[in-house]
């Protein structure tokens, strides 16, 4: 690292020298030899060819090194589809990028100023213009159709009856997760019931019977090859659920629940052996800026095979078992409490 810093300083000093040199020459010479196509023009012309060429070679050389750190193949069904669309699109645009840039820089080099060159007065050509309107239009159409297909399959499916529901709630600065328990139904919630002091961080309404077996684990566990429906919300500011290995992303919005359904295809154990990394973990990150701790909202996801998942489920205890004092408390009791409090204030005022 120090070497980099020194390198930088070196370059800065070089820059200063350059400046001094130029000051010198600016002050002494009042040049008026602005010929077209002088030495500078030839140097710039040559650079127009050299710089992109060197850049291209370096990029080709460096790409495999950089690509080593790309995310592994998607671990979800829709993710595999978006991945293939991604690489196809990337191939198409890389070609477009190379062809157009090659044209740009080659022409810049080739047609640099030469005294007496016959310039073609070429102002219009409808056929050409038609071609390069039509070609991108066709390419775009194909990509749009393909994209719409993948998008619809990923985002517009009806959840099957037996879908595993997981509620993910973002707050500053942590994720919290709730499972529906044995009944498969999440209990109701209301933000007015939220109370960190008493421990109801989700604002669960325990008057709703469905809440009674809901549990709040420390990690997300999901079964492999089974659709999972994330019910996503936030309780303070925007957050965004991002599970890079599954190609899952969806904002968490206060006041507007969102959802995302996906099917994981590889267990954590599979991934560990596939990547040769015994410490590998699926991770959940936040991708909507939410304040100071935005960069540190890490949560673990474990994909289990069926038996492991069953085992894990069996170990989980309903929230009410740990905090029995919440039993039966919900919106009605809150309203009653509020009314009572208001009455008290009123009577005090009246007195």
């Amino acid at each position: 690292m120090l070497t980099v810093i020194f390198g930088l300083i070196g370059i800065l000093i070089l820059g200063v020298f350059l400046l001094l040199f130029r000051v010198q020459s600016l002050v002494t010479i009042l040049r008026d030899t602005d010929e077209r196509g002088g030495l500078s023009n030839r140097i710039n012309g040559a650079l127009m060819l050299l710089v992109p060429l060197i850049g291209f070679i370096v990029a080709v050389y460096h790409y495999p090194i950089a690509a080593k750190h790309f995310l592994p193949e998607a671990s979800s069904i829709h993710g595999k589809e978006t991945d293939s669309l991604f690489w196809i699109t990337l191939t198409v645009i890389t070609l477009m990028f190379l062809i157009t840039n090659a044209g740009l820089f080659w022409f810049a080099f080739k047609y640099q100023y030469k005294a007496g060159r016959k310039v073609v007065f070429f102002a219009d050509d409808h056929k050409l213009e038609l071609i390069w309107t039509a070609v991108p239009a066709v390419i775009m159409t194909v990509l749009v159709l393909y994209g719409a297909l993948v998008w619809n399959r990923a985002m517009m499916q009806e959840p099957p009856k037996d879908v595993q529901v997981v509620e993910v709630m973002g707050k500053q600065f942590a994720w919290q997760v709730r499972y529906p328990g044995k009944d498969g139904k999440l209990g109701k919630y209301d933000f007015r019931l939220t109370n960190d002091a008493t421990g109801n961080e989700f604002g669960i309404d325990f008057e709703d019977k469905n809440s009674e077996d809901d549990f709040i684990p420390r990690e997300i566990h999901i079964p492999v090859n089974k659709p999972v429906l994330l019910k996503i919300r936030a309780r303070d500011v925007l957050h965004s659920v991002f599970m890079p290995h599954f190609r899952v992303k969806m904002d968490a919005v206060p006041g507007m629940p969102t959802q995302f359904m996906f099917t994981p295809t590889k267990t954590t154990t599979d991934m560990r052996s596939q990547l040769g990394n015994p410490n590998f973990n699926y991770e959940l990150a936040c991708t909507e800026v939410c304040g100071k701790g935005h960069f540190a909202m890490r949560y673990l996801i474990v994909v289990d095979d069926e038996p492991d998942y069953k085992k894990w489920l069996a170990e989980q205890k309903p929230f009410l078992e740990e905090k029995p004092e919440f039993k039966g408390k919900g919106m009605k009791s809150l309203r009653k409490k509020n009314v009572a409090a208001n009455e008290e204030i009123k009577t005090k005022k009246d007195i």
């Binding site: 980099v4 930088l8 820059g15 130029r22 600016l26 040049r31 008026d32 500078s40 140097i43 710039n44 127009m48 992109p52 850049g55 950089a66 750190h69 790309f70 589809e81 669309l85 991604f86 990337l90 990028f97 157009t100 820089f105 022409f107 810049a108 047609y111 640099q112 100023y113 310039v119 073609v120 007065f121 102002a123 219009d124 050509d125 213009e129 390069w132 309107t133 775009m140 990509l143 998008w151 619809n152 985002m155 517009m156 933000f191 309780r235 303070d236 899952v248 992303k249 969806m250 206060p254 006041g255 507007m256 590998f280 991770e283 990150a285 936040c286 800026v289 939410c290 701790g293 960069f295």
Partner: protein, 634 residues
Amino acid sequence: MELHNHGQSAVAEAHTHDHHHDEHEHHEDGFIRKYIFSEDHKTIAKQFLILGLMWAFMGGAMSVIFRLQLGFPDFNLEWLRPILGTWINETGKLEQEKYLALVTMHGTIMVFFVLTAGLSGTFSNFLIPLQVGARDMASGFMNMLSFWFFFLASVVMFTSLFLETGPASGGWVIYPPLSALPEAVPGSGAGMTYWLISMALFIVSSLLGGINYITTVINMRTKGLSFARLPLTIWAFFLTAIIGLLSFPVLFAAALLLIFDRSMGTSFFLSDIYIGGKALHHQGGSAILFQHLFWFLGHPEVYIVLLPALGITSEIIATNARKPIFGYRAMVGSMIGIGVLSFIVWAHHMFVTGMNPFLGTIFMLLTLIIAVPSAVKAFNYITTLWKGNIIFTPAMLFSIGLVSLFISGGVTGIVLGNNALDIQLHDTYFVVAHFHLVMGSASFFGMMAGVYHWFPKMFGRMMDDKLGYVHFWLTFIGVYLVFFPMHYIGIAGFPRRYYSFSTFDFGKSYADLNMFISAAAIITFSAQALFAFNFVYSIFRGRLAPLNPWDSNTLEWTTPRVPGHGNWPGAIPTVHRWPYDYSKPDADKDGFTDFIPQHIPFSQTPNSNFEHENDLIAKQEGKKNSGDNEHKHH
């Protein structure tokens, strides 16, 4: 100079002999009216430019600071304490919340102050009257106000940097609830209030300017300058102003509603919030509504910064390739197409916000349509170079650089515009790479190209071109080194607006690459010192500029070296042809070299005229008898 323009020098001479009077010298305006509260569009343009450049250096310096944090997370920043004060914590590291503050200020400054005011403000002001042949803007007074509102906005934004709770920190898009709740991040207290006031002032500035640009282009074109003969610069400024006029008020509305939510307890954008141990009273608001409103401006804003750069590039590429711009009509058509489409693609920023997925498909379709006119523009630039005779002035280098960056950043738009792919890439460094190339760098290159090209007209002196070359190559290579690798980081899933990547396993992989990017950013930023020096030095010491240093066709080069108030000492020249008669066949037989300026009548170029142009001679002769602003040549 052997290649000077005959018509040109004759005009200039004629002017010095029979000038009406140079208002500049005759009635003294006094220092304040002349340089500070000036109503002259050229002075106002320079004011926009200089303030914009100052902001550019500030915004750039901020990016260097947060790049230091990202590239060298263990580096001790204690030495920055004299500047940053308590933004550096006890351990010598950047405070986490202040990282966000820096990112937010950097984005706001670059998008609005540098590339909207500094680019569009400068060149619309400078070039519209000069290139349409007007003595000034339609309303000099409103134009002056436009700058001073920008100045006020700048003062307010700058002041917000020194607030104890820090400036706005919720990102340049200021999404509520984060931006509405001081409990959520300290910058959303006074800092956000300042941000909103500053932006409100800025919007007023933009609107005042925009109305002026539009009116001037429509009403004050000189005789003969039909829309079909407008230089592409003017087309670009004109369309930009219209886009701004239609979209900025929507941002204003969003800001206003946000102000209500913040200070009057309304719930336009807020609902169901529990923060700081309390449930807030807000219910029924929609955070997504704000995003719709914001991006209804936000996306057109991308083109507000880009179109002027593209216009400038068109002009410079044609001039220096010594060739007409290829496909003038297609260029205008694609700009209009881009302008219209830019209003109906905004929700591509919102594919994964929970918006109805069907809507996502519609917006993907509309978004990818906009790629077509953009591609047409790129092809036309490239074809303009084909079989030209290219002179690499610094302006030309930056213009060619712009085209390259516009393509490189543009193609990744095809990826991000595809909603299925945006699921993974949204809010990652892939996006940062994309918009820095296509909007940040391309527009910045357009601005630089414009400065190098019109500096002689602005200050009457030449910038040093050798320094310009070095500046270009360092910047061009630097920008690619900074932003190209960011695609990789994005593909690896790194989210943006992250203070550090070491908290995640998947984010640890690119420590080296991040270091490299930061080093490249520092070098690129330092290279701008060459420009700063060249700019300031040349204002005072540069070689005196010839009247038409680039042998260009447009009207501004028919003014005196330093045009006074009113621009032309004599009558305003009449326009007889389009601005791209470069290297017209047989021009030499008419006594011209490789360019025929716009004010030369067809009657004077019988050999090089095309058939339909010969037909126009009779019409122009007719006009000549009725008007007095015809010039004699030789």
